[in-house]
Symmetry: C2
Subunit: 245 residues, 2 copies
DNA sequence: CACTGTGAATGCATTCACAGCG
DNA sequence: CGCTGTGAATGCATTCACAGTG
């Protein structure tokens, strides 16, 4: 790993077991298990061109057991990988039957750290992206609650977005303590990103998600993840440009 | 690789040189080189807590040459990795001096496939996230232009968002041909995602970015990337849960 | 018999270390 | 010198293959 002072996507300091790649997939498993455990629900059909010749589909009945093979199929992985991944966290399966959907879901949820609890999130930057993030259902469903939102723009502070009053950036540090923030979310323009990041770090936040397209420096003790929207498009462009055309 | 019928994040079929991990970093290099080549610009200061003890900062002067070391520092990589990555695409450096910023920028831009050209994008799903994506500056700046947007909700179709009229989902297929769409972007609810994806594939789109938190099946010939917003938070939760507290 | 869990083998990606060059 | 470009070494991640089990 590069310099001792900072790096991009951290790994756990102590817990030397599950590889990062595997941890990253953990929530995929949880998600799929939840779906398998749920009732089929209404199949929302999108009007338009007919169904393609689609492969073994996320079918109806609520399964009690699921094999590594099927789980792999649903997630686009291999069965061996599923078994290997799960084995890092414990032995959950039954030979000849597979995994108990409910039980595995519970166990993994607990391991992921999203079990009985919720995590408090503070958002910096209430622009287009920031507002969309505040509105995004997926976070709340998984136990991530926005407890604070700040912006430098005086036209935005004071406004209420998604039931949350936008505070001034000056209040960031105090809000973090006041609202017991666990995770900082950065959706400010690139020029301001490092500054805001430093403020989060300074105020004691130990986990940060960055949506600004810059590399941020953080101390070893802070976990940082980056979500870069344009980067995915660009790698597609690379492959598109290379294939005939 | 798993099943022959589909997989999650594709690699190029023919071009057997640059590793995927390296291609993924290619746009990081381009981005940083662009910044290095630009004039310093106004340092947008965010009011609030003072600067942390920050390391060698993205400093002022427009550099003509940049070393692998410095580039690595800015991007949070190692110098060896930078040199290795760049070497997959050619020999751009000068011994003892480093890389010519302008030249390297031009060369990499061309290789990335975002050089003189633009790419047409169609968006499916104009909800919160979809609207934010339409408004996101970063895409246009890098040559990705939204040429179509569709939604199933009749209250949304007909509306104009960011200068684009939202069409009905039924028109997706014809719009793809009409507007010569290169990339499909999926921002619909999970239940509809596979359906929309199939429509894109059916209409001849060869590259898709999926923002819905589900695995999608696509034929080998189509490149698929997934951006999962909640997943990053969840892996942070994992690490947070594991470190004391 | 169908399936898990895991050593051992393979295949990628990153890092080391240094020869070679301006 | 300072810095690139790259073989060789290391370290991860994925896959194979099969013994073991309900």
């Amino acid at each position: 790993m590069s310099r001792p002072t900072s790096r991009s996507n951290h790994r756990p300091p102590a817990s030397r077991d599950a590889p990062d790649a595997c941890v990253a997939r953990l929530s995929l498993y949880v998600r799929e298990l939840r779906r398998l455990g749920e009732p089929p629900g209404p199949t929302v059909a999108v009007a338009g061109a007919g169904r393609s010749a689609s492969r073994a589909r996320r079918g109806g009945q609520r399964a009690a057991f699921v094999s590594s093979r099927r789980l792999a199929q649903l997630l686009g992985l291999t069965d061996a990988q599923v078994r290997r991944d799960l084995s890092y966290f414990g032995q959950f399966g039954t030979s000849g039957r597979g995994y108990d959907v409910q039980r595995l879901h519970e166990r993994l949820t607990a391991i992921l750290g999203v079990s009985g609890r919720t995590w408090n999130v503070a958002l910096a930057g209430v622009g287009n992206l920031g507002s969309a993030l505040l509105a995004y259902r997926g976070f709340r469903e998984r136990g991530f609650l926005f407890k604070a939102a700040v912006d430098t723009d005086p036209r935005k502070t004071g406004r209420t977005v998604q039931g949350l009053t936008v505070a001034s950036s000056q209040q960031l540090v105090e809000l973090v303590t006041q609202e017991d923030i666990h995770i900082g979310m950065i959706a400010v323009p690139v020029e301001a990103a490092q500054e805001v990041c430093d403020q989060f770090v300074h105020s004691g936040v130990r986990a940060i998600v960055n949506f600004a397209p810059v590399h941020l420096d953080v101390p070893e003790s802070v976990w940082l993840r980056v979500v870069d929207l344009a980067i995915e498009l660009e790698s597609l462009a690379y492959y598109l440009a290379r294939s005939q055309t």
